[in-house]
Assembly symmetry: C2
Homo-oligomer: 332 residues x 2
Amino acid sequence: MPPPTRHPVAELRDRFLQRLRESSTSREPRGLYEPISYIMGIGGKRVRPLLALIAARMFGDDEELTAGMPVALAVETFHNFTLLHDDIMDASPLRRGNPTVHEKWDVNTAILSGDLMLIQAYAHLCGAPDKRRTHDLLCTFNRIATGVCEGQQFDVDFELRSHVTIEEYLDMIELKTAVLLGGALEMGALSAGAGREDADHLYAFGRLTGLAFQLHDDLLDTFGDGKQTGKLTGNDIIRNKKTFLYIKTLESLDETQRGELVEWFSHSPEDPAPKVARVTELMRLRDIPRLVAELRDQFQKEAYAHLAAVNGDAAWKDALRQLTEELLSRDN
Amino acid sequence: MPPPTRHPVAELRDRFLQRLRESSTSREPRGLYEPISYIMGIGGKRVRPLLALIAARMFGDDEELTAGMPVALAVETFHNFTLLHDDIMDASPLRRGNPTVHEKWDVNTAILSGDLMLIQAYAHLCGAPDKRRTHDLLCTFNRIATGVCEGQQFDVDFELRSHVTIEEYLDMIELKTAVLLGGALEMGALSAGAGREDADHLYAFGRLTGLAFQLHDDLLDTFGDGKQTGKLTGNDIIRNKKTFLYIKTLESLDETQRGELVEWFSHSPEDPAPKVARVTELMRLRDIPRLVAELRDQFQKEAYAHLAAVNGDAAWKDALRQLTEELLSRDN
């Protein structure tokens, strides 16, 4: 009896991790390369490279992953570069439970290692086997990377602004998180020879799924079951984080209650329980959880319509749908 | 009577500056794009883009600079990105007489704007008209950019090390400054359709000229005429900077005098005059200025041999030689 077949996505993840280990160098100067191996090695779900690899498998005959792997490495390296530099800007001590690079080394090391990671992301694109596609891959990568930087800046700007519209907020999370998910799929498809139309549909699928993820995360943070998510319920409220839920609630409240919500978000009481309870109540009063869940489902429905329009291998389209559903259902 | 013809290199500089002004955007978010316009606008000699443009003009028919200009913008944007991030790491308050970005805005702004500049450098490469050359340009750019980051890290490492060999020091300045000069020429040539051999000769010319520049700068700092250079003579000695001169002197002194030199470089007396006088004397004692000038001239001679081997337009090869001589003779 043959051994049971591994799940194809799990198989891709294993092969990506294998390739990642092989690509890790211990070159000189070590002070530059060690922090890169460190941050690339401390895990994460590897969602972006998986999206790239699945998209590449959808088109043509990329069983060896020669087309998709360079793009997968590029997007994962880029993603980790953004984490490294964002952690400096946010002065975060921990990343995935480990000390951040600027804590374990120092800020200058984190700046320079991050810079080299951005260059390495581009260097991976040079590893794509079909040189005729380099131009398209490079231009796409630039568009995505520019968007991510703009999203980060909008996020910083919004923290300091008293009023942010729901459209502005959605634009920000689209740039900050959704375009890279879309870009991973688009570039994976392009690397394997997909046409522009299919690549665009996959980009749209990734972008809309990214927006759905973000709303799902916001909902879980405030209304999820802490025992299942393993996180403190109401953490965003405690940290006065202006999430989609907060902005949507603010927009729908009358003036008095709007003043009350703004007041709650202007300080951090020692015992946060009454604040969490009252803010949650205000959100429920305006039926916000249902509204947000509906919007999330609407995004995901539109995403699936784009996926359905892709002329790619049906089994890999299913794999992509499965991966998405896993991510949307998981409570962590 | 026709107006007198402008010097062709001055003409290229004007056209580059014109194009740079046109490419400056005032996009949202302004907190991200304004610092970029600021640093790109505060001058500098624009040596690297000129090298790219001259190299492109050497091959084929690039009168409109359509091939060379994207590369010129890419190398200048990259160079300014390195200045922006280096200034954070060195905590420098001024750049070209103006406040640095992290002083005028803040460190986070300087990190993120710098990141976007690195992406913009790559984006300029996408503007090159012949898509078949994108692959070569991208791989070359990655090699150069990686070298520059490695050079910066070696420089940081050497500051903390008690002993650095002359070979290690030369490798460091090659990476930190010379490879980008070579790369600008190599990429300018490739963009205009030059073959690999000509591009390699131009790279070697730029790399060796860069090394010659660096030794020239070191010499001027310590032995130049302050009235002509407009700089404080002996500034490197006052700042305990481990230049080529210092390392070469250290290597050639006997043990007693080596101890004396190390001692001088271990503190910063209030009146630096006796220190500058004695260290300069030690250097002269070992005939270091002559040795360094000879090495500089040797590098430049080898550089010209590579230039002579290039199968490019003779008038533009002359222009390149003139630009080099101007830079090597100028006392600032």
